[in-house]
Amino acid sequence: MINKRANNRMMTRLSIFAAGMFGFGFLLVPFYEKICEVTGVNNLIKPAVAVVNTQVDVSRWVSMEFDANAHGLNWEFKPVQRTMKVHPGEMVQVEYDVTNKGDRATVGQAIPSYGPNHAGPFVRKLECFCFKQQLLQAGETKRMPVQFVLDGGLPADLNTITLSYTFFEVQGASLKPTKADGVNS
């Protein structure tokens, strides 16, 4: 029972299907981004929506710990203040110092992470250097602010939150100083 034409037609169809599935793998990338955007998961380097209830809960202290790391690039990066006690609902501003110790201009992107992880959604960053890529000339030092409010809905058992930033190098980013502050991620 050999019908070469039918076999070849079947092979063509299946090959197209396989090629389509290869494309589908890449289609998962924008699809995943869209899902994260819609559900608000992974909203790490975008400003949070302003807090609705701005009442400061003075009855409660939460200690914030600030941590800073640089991964794969020769930057010195540290918080000005390492710990701080804050009330939920209070507007807080902290600063970080970063110095490019290397001998070439580099663009970096800071990625925040939280300990414990589920505290993340309650730390609402209104202003952050992590919203933009940062260009540092060789030897340049910058002081960069982070402004955040702890959401009043923070679970009662969370008394200590670590906010940790890691700078990664953005390879292939524009090194023109004019765009230094405007490079959007």
Partner: protein, 534 residues
């Protein structure tokens, strides 16, 4: 095709035809083979070789874990061993073994002369050795093998040494081989059946391969895409998985497991097929609930696309998503249960005998079901959060991969060896091989459940002192299991060289075409003229 035509001109009947079968000789016979039986043989030998390589890697792991502390290997090498043990066993041993079965059996079981695309079949096989060469050669790359785990998770894989690139290319090649093999199998099954061989009359093994081949065509390209993204992230400045560039490493896990969960069934479903041939033959009854078996297999395949995130409950997911993936996963137990009950019902009131293939099939039935149950335990999100990345998971998937897929492959090899070689294996040695495998398998993996429940993490070369006894038992079991497989090699070689002559139909309950219509050994060219099927 040429060979087929010349033989059709002869107009001979198949029986006794092998006398003037002219087959190519020497190295050419194998390098340029377009014969489904020779290619099947090569697949099976290749997979056995890779099984030994992957097994040696497993024994390196178990030697290091025999005692707490670091004794034998460096942690980097240990990580590389866990990685390549997994990759080689999955892509080099189990998958090619079942493709070997498919090549040997599908044309004979549906009454076709050969596979639909014999030359592509040759290419599918000969892509495997270069891929194996890359996987084994990766150990000698600067910095050693990539210790990233067989799942090749980002960001570790985007930062690993040059061995990672070799591994990625190996996966590309293996993927191409599997896709071509699957296209061949689907076309053969859909277009080349003998007249009268309706789809719902096909032996169960053919059905399971039809479904598996569709799974492969659907998901191997997705894996190829995932590793391509890893490759471009590594070398071409893309940011698919690089958080700094706006990517997300968790995305890799989603894409990988979109491939990875169907992959689990790509391994398990052909094993179901083999067992569905063996159990009826030794129960001397037709398979109970044939149609429900077909539908259950198809439902398992469809459901397998909808449950991938149960591998990543701890990666961070909204609770609603966790609930969905939990319920969907539990749902798979229903069609799987149908299959298990059908096998048991096939044996019910059958006139059972317990030759080696049947022993392995029953071993499969018990132990695969046990692995299925631990899978159900792991599918429950709150339990999984506790057990994620512990030895409980290792025990679970070795019950389905080793006692499931591998035992079923052993059952199949003992079952069809008389048809393939024309000689009987040594029944006594076969039974010894079964009992050694069964005992040592459980010695190795059963205790790992306890280790996992007690919190021992996987993929770490050292462990806390309280895990010492169970690890020692597990390592003893692993060496026993490994050496038992040398007995298997001896049995197969003994069968080929000096086995007793096998009758055409050594198992009276076996009723598919290769038993009823072909002599043993099956001639080089079979069913040149399609058989008549009632």
């Amino acid at each position: 095709m040429e060979a087929v035509n010349t033989h059709a001109d002869h107009g001979h009947h198949d029986r006794g035809h092998d006398d003037h079968d002219h087959k190519p000789t020497g190295l050419k016979r194998w390098l340029m083979s377009t014969n489904h039986k020779d290619i099947g043989t090569m697949y099976l030998w290749f997979s056995f070789f890779m099984f030994i390589v992957g097994g040696i890697m497993a024994l390196v792991i178990r030697s290091e874990l025999f005692q707490p502390g670091l004794q034998i290997v460096k942690p980097e090498f240990f990580n590389s061993m866990t990685t390549y043990h997994g990759l080689i066993m999955v892509f080099g041993a189990i998958m090619p073994a079942f493709v070997g079965f498919a090549n040997w059996l599908i044309p004979m079981q549906i009454g076709a002369a050969d596979m639909a695309f014999p030359r592509m079949n040759n290419l599918s096989f000969w892509l495997l050795p270069p891929a194996a060469f890359l996987l084994i050669g990766a150990q000698f790359a600067p910095g050693g093998g990539a210790g990233v785990g067989w799942t090749l998770y980002a960001p570790l894989s985007t930062q690993a040494g040059p061995a990672m690139d070799l591994t990625i290319f190996a996966i590309h090649i293996l993927g191409m081989s599997s896709i071509m093999g699957s296209i061949n199998i689907i076309t053969t099954l859909l277009n080349m059946r003998a007249p009268g061989m309706a789809l719902m009359k096909m032996p169960m093994f053919c059905w399971t391969w039809l479904i598996t081949a569709y799974l492969l065509v659907a998901v191997m390209p997705v894996l190829a895409g995932a590793v391509t993204m890893t490759l471009t992230d590594r070398h071409f400045g893309t940011h698919f998985f690089n958080a700094a560039g706006g990517g997300d490493p968790v995305l890799y896990q989603h894409i990988f497991w979109f491939f990875g969960h169907p992959e689990v069934y790509i391994i398990a479903i052909p094993a179901f097929g083999v067992v569905s041939q063996v159990i009826p033959a030794f129960s001397r009854k037709p398979l109970f609930g044939y149609a429900s078996m077909v539908y259950a297999t198809a439902s398992i395949a469809i459901l397998s696309f909808m449950v991938w995130a149960h591998h990543m409950y701890t990666a961070g997911m909204p609770v609603q998503a966790q609930l969905y993936f939990m319920y969907a996963t539990v749902l798979i137990a229903v069609p799987t249960g149908v299959k298990v009950f059908n096998w048991v019902a096939t044996m019910w009131r059958g006139s059972l005998t317990f030759e080696t293939p049947m022993l392995f099939a029953i071993g499969f039935l018990f132990l695969f079901t046990l692995g299925g149950f631990t899978g159900l335990v792991l599918s429950i999100t709150p339990v999984d959060v506790q057990l994620h990345d512990t030895y409980y998971v290792v025990a679970h998937f070795h019950y389905v991969m080793v006692a499931g897929a591998l035992f079923s492959a052993f059952a199949g090899i003992y079952f069809w060896l008389p048809k393939w070689t024309g000689r009987m294996y040594d029944e006594k040695l076969g039974r010894i091989h079964f009992w050694l495998s069964l005992v040592f398998f459980n010695l190795t993996f059963f205790v790992q459940h306890f280790l996992g429940l007690a919190g021992m993490p996987r993929r770490i070369p050292d462990y806390a002192l309280q895990f010492a006894e169970f690890n020692a038992i597990s390592s003893v079991g692993a060496f026993g299991f490994g050496f038992s497989q040398l007995l298997f090699l001896y049995i197969v070689i003994k069968t080929i060289t000096s086995g007793e002559k096998a009758p055409d139909r050594p198992w009276e309950g076996a009723d598919s075409l290769e038993w009823t219509h072909l002599p043993s050994p099956a001639p080089f060219h079979s069913f040149v003229e399609p058989p008549v099927i009632k």
